[in-house]
Amino acid sequence: MSLEKITDPRNMKHWLGHMETDYRYTLGIAGERFLNEIKENARIMGSKCKKCGVIYVPPRMYCEECFEKLEEWVDLGINGEVYTYTVAYLDREGKRLAEPVIYALITFGDAFGGLVHKLGEVKPEEVWIGMPVEAVFKPPYERKGSITDIKYFKPIQ
């Protein structure tokens, strides 16, 4: 231990490490169809359990309640509502953002689940829980089969 008062911990002896971790995450049957529908047809799909009737969004290939395989697909449209939201003022490093970002969980009717996404074309103080919103998609040539093919959700006028 040092006998002198340490005022800056960076002055303590240390070794810097960096962890390289690159992965290729498999989308799976449900994930691939879901993202492909967004890319090709600009629509949000759910998968339905034929046993209990629950519609999952994002879709899955099995029902967590019944443990059934899900094979029926349902078009949920592009309109939903804000279930909850937040206004983020900090970036990944904890620094102040120049412009705050609004994140929200968007639900779609009776479907179980929803999508976590950003809100756009709206000021933070104008957002409310229950607000109807619609998906704004990137133009087809920019879409690559990612959740960010949806640019954001905006209030329905």
């Binding site: 231990m1 040092s2 340490i6 911990p9 303590m12 240390h14 810097l16 490490g17 962890m19 971790t21 992965y23 995450y25 989308l27 994930g31 993202l35 999952y56 969004v57 994002p58 967590e64 279930y83 909850t84 939201y85 937040t86 206004v87 983020a88 003022y89 900090l90 970036d91 990944r92 490093e93 904890g94 970002v101 994140y103 929200a104 969980l105 179980f112 689940g113 929803g114 999508l115 976590v116 996404h117 950003k118 933070p124 829980i129 990612s146 959740i147 960010t148």
Partner: protein, 386 residues
């Protein structure tokens, strides 16, 4: 089946940063204290098994469990690591003793959070890689979303949430293990920087470094090691779901389920009457109120009023987080539950000094694994054997 007791505790920290000690030295120092506290046991021959709690990414190691034996005196002995909070480790240690094959089990959890240079990147890496991660941003936005929904469903006010910070930071002033004790006003909390609306800067537990080691023993051995065994009456744990999309954003369902399990093991039917004090996860201020409700210590949406009525302050009928909680002691990653457990043990021993709750007999320790998890654990402890 043998009863299970905590017979020794050792704590180093908690401080915002402990740059003078490596993580191994931190664990060593806490272990030395715990073994001495447990009647001077020798870890090289008296301990039947060791349980440590760590998550690889917090540590900066792949397969961190290989790096724990020597600093605990556990080289060439029986050890495993739980990749979860210290209270999940407690559940494992408890079960080992319950089998009847183990008399002394050592439990350890630590935090060297100050070694992590990219904390939020690790948290972000815990989120769904396909549906959520591509959105980017600081993953603590999830806490803002949850708080907003919780306030909307319950009518809990931002003032009530802010009051939790005032209470817990003040409580922490009397706790030598707390890193962030302070006398602050409600306005200071309310006017602290907005971070993730409606969550403000002072409502977020800052990280801290520290380590807690505990020695558990079977009934037969416990009485030989200490005059004040603290009995583990029940443990419970649960995960709701990793999916942000389908989880309950108002209620802490994982805590409801964990508590139900712990109450059942402990034979508790009316928690608010049978439990004398509570240590729970207040990683974000609103979480204290939400968890209090999930523990069935009041109805959903009523915790804010309990706070206003002074019931959960140090001198109230049901003191909550007399230690200062995570807001006062600092968020110690997988050692967070051990902070809670440590306080419960000290209170039940009557050794909590300036913050002692008079006549405490049954205490509850609770933890939550933080953003973005929906995992929690509960333990019920008592200083009287049924």
């Amino acid at each position: 089946m043998s009863e299970v007791a905590i017979v020794g505790v050792g704590c180093v920290g908690f401080k915002s940063i402990m740059p003078e000690l490596s993580y191994k030295e931190l664990m060593f120092e806490a272990a030395v204290k715990a073994y001495e506290d447990a009647g001077g046991i020798n870890p090289r021959k008296d301990v039947d098994a060791f349980v440590t709690c760590a998550e690889d990414y917090w540590e900066g190691f792949s397969i961190f469990d290989e790096f724990v034996p020597d600093q605990l005196g556990a080289v060439l002995r029986h050890l495993f690591t739980v990749s979860g909070d210290g209270l999940l480790g407690l559940a494992n240690a408890y079960m080992l003793i319950k089998t009847g094959h183990f008399d002394i089990v050592v439990l350890e959890a630590h935090s060297k959070a100050s070694d992590i240079l990219t904390f939020y990147d690790i948290v972000a890496f815990a989120m769904d890689p396909v549906m959520v991660r591509p959105l980017g941003g600081n993953p603590y936005y999830i806490a803002g979303m949850e708080m907003n929904r919780y306030l909307c469903e319950t009518g809990t006010t931002i003032e009530q949430c802010a009051q939790v910070v005032v209470k817990n930071k003040r409580n922490a002033l009397a706790n030598p293990y707390a890193a962030y004790g302070a006398n602050i006003t409600l306005d200071q909390v309310l006017w602290s920087e907005p971070c993730f609306y409606p969550l403000k800067k002072l409502e977020i537990s800052p990280l801290s470094d520290g380590c807690v080691v505990m020695v558990l023993a079977s009934e037969k051995v416990a009485k030989k090691l200490t005059d004040t065994p603290i009995w583990v009456e029940g443990v419970g744990w649960a995960t709701e779901t990793p999916n942000l999309e389908t989880r309950d954003w108002g209620r802490a369902v994982y805590t409801e389920l964990a508590a139900e399990m712990a109450y059942k093991t402990a034979g508790i039917t009316c928690p608010s009457r049978e439990i004398d004090f509570v240590e729970l996860s207040d990683l974000f201020a609103y979480k204290e109120l939400q968890h209090l409700e999930a523990l069935k210590l009041c109805k959903y949406g009523e915790a804010g009023m309990l706070l206003e009525d002074g019931i959960i302050t140090k001198d109230g009928d049901l003191p909550v987080n007399v230690s200062g909680g995570c807001l006062g002691m600092g968020y110690a990653l997988e050692a967070s539950g051990m902070q809670r457990l440590l306080e419960v043990v000290l209170q039940l021993r009557g050794k909590a000094e300036g913050r002692q709750i008079p006549d405490a007999e049954v205490g509850l320790a609770h933890t939550w694994r933080g953003i973005p998890t929906a995992t929690g654990a509960v333990a019920i402890l008592s200083n009287i054997k049924e």
